[in-house]
Amino acid sequence: MDCNSPNTKKTSDIDDVLSFVSTGNAIPLLHEIKHALGQLLENNVTSTIDLGAIPFAPGDERLLDDVLGIGEVHAALAVMGESHVRETAVPGVWRIDHFDEDGEIQSRFIEITFMPDILKTQRTDAETGLETLSQRLNALDDNR
């Protein structure tokens, strides 16, 4: 395919073919997730897996998506760029994707937990929140 050809974008046919290219890394990863979920239920231990550390081809991604699926929760965070926290169809297995301010992918994780840390309010933020709330209430009082 050369630059003069009318369709230089990937066709869906090629995507389909590429989606079968796989390194074979998806299956061991899924076993690791299963083991971690077992550990979560037995010992309350949270695990995080960095997807950036493992060579993944489109076929592996497809397998991961097929097996894990989409669950009930989707949280979109506006935190120095977007972040998306989704529970998969396997409760307890969360996918966390961080994007930077330009919309480019920054990092991707799979967290096996009852509640991902990034969703929880951080203590320092709550302290700042208390200050903010007090200031705003004072402003309201002053205006009465």
Binding site: T23, R108, T121
Partner: protein, 362 residues
């Protein structure tokens, strides 16, 4: 320039929530190839460590490394400049110029003597130091002067790390690497032509949080340069099955087969290109269809042609082979005629042969 505020104060002033900071540290851990379990340590280190002064020296270079590092997405160079380091001197990125710029450098050196980080890109010409000067100061002198008070030196790009394209045959300027000149300071080599942007920022980030990372025998951080391209290449299954592209754009090339026969230096090159990839993880040279040049290895310009497979001899052996045939034939004829003459002489002299003669070698 003195007493920069701690990161935690900065965040509060800029209204950056701790949640945002945790996201930043999480992505940073991923970029530094560290386990997610290290995030709390990274957060603690970034919050409490003072922001070091960084002096960036650009010598005999093409500015590709600076271009690349400004394309880094995580952590962004802006994050680094504004939040974690104090970039006090950089030709391309600084606003000042001329005397004001040099004054900034000298001030930073004096203020933070013994504690600042020197980042170098570009090689240093020593054949005649006048080949590359900044504000009248030769690169050689500026490097020696600036390195004297440095806590550590990071050689970014193959030029600074190993001499790079300047050092390639015939090396007219006598270009050398930083490590050939500075022998008494810790040097981290981050080679590549250019290095992957996130690798550059990841190494700097690692240095800021945990100090000098573990280095291999060529001074490269093992986190990013521990594996060869070949071992992480997604086209490896094709190599193992013996499916190779024979020329550019042939059937094999279009099928995404292994590029070994097109000269790929993946087996002998250690870099993170196959996992971390380029342009925010979009692709890397082999995925785009071009064999790896081996640009993180020293003297990759002279290590046989880019398109000559590693298994092929590098010299002009065809000519030599033909010469050997001709020479061998001539010598063979001469030897045979000599032997024939010897035989004729022996026959004339009625020489005898016995069993012991057969054991003799000549």
């Amino acid at each position: 320039m003195a007493n920069k505020p701690m990161l935690s104060e900065l965040m509060k002033t800029h209204g950056i929530s701790r949640r945002a900071f945790i996201k930043y540290c999480t992505s940073l851990a991923s970029v530094m190839a560290l386990s997610p379990a290290m995030v709390p340590r990274i957060a603690e280190a970034l919050e409490n460590a003072p922001r070091p002064s960084v002096i960036w020296l650009s010598f005999q270079e093409c500015t590709g490394c600076t271009e690349a590092i400004t394309r880094s997405h995580a952590p962004t160079i802006e994050d680094l400049i504004f939040n974690a380091i104090s970039l006090d001197y950089h030709h391309t990125l600084q606003a000042a110029s001329g005397h004001a710029a040099e004054a900034a450098r000298e001030h930073a050196m004096k203020e933070h003597y013994g504690k600042y980080v020197v980042v170098v890109d570009g090689s240093i010409p020593i054949k005649d130091p006048g080949y590359s000067c900044i504000a009248g100061i030769s690169n050689l002198d500026m490097l020696k002067e600036t390195a004297a008070g440095a806590a550590a030196i990071v050689s970014v790009g193959t030029c600074a790390a190993y001499g790079g394209v300047g050092h390639a045959d015939p090396n007219p300027t006598g270009a050398v690497a930083v490590s050939e000149i500075i022998k008494d300071k810790p040097i981290i080599n981050v080679p590549g032509c250019p290095p992957i942007p996130v690798v550059m920022t990841g190494v700097l980030a690692h240095f800021l949080t945990f100090g000098i990372p573990e280095l291999d025998e060529l001074g490269r951080p093992k986190a990013f340069f521990g594996e060869s391209i070949h071992d992480r290449c997604y086209r490896r299954p094709f190599y193992d099955k013996g499916m190779f592209a024979e020329s550019f754009d042939d059937e094999g090339a279009r099928g995404g087969w292994c590029l070994y026969k097109l000269g790929c230096k993946g087996p002998t090159t250690k870099s993170a290109c196959a996992t971390v990839k380029w342009n925010n993880g979009v692709s890397f040279p082999i995925e785009a269809g071009h064999p790896c040049l081996g640009c993180t290895e020293p003297d990759f310009w002279d290590n046989g042609g880019f398109y000559k497979p590693l298994s092929v001899p590098a010299g002009d052996y065809r000519k030599l082979g033909l010469a050997a045939v001709a020479g061998g034939a001539a010598a063979g004829v001469a030897g045979a005629l000599l032997a024939k003459a010897g035989k004729a002489k022996a026959a004339k002299a009625h020489e005898t042969v016995d069993a012991h003669d057969l054991e003799k070698s000549s």
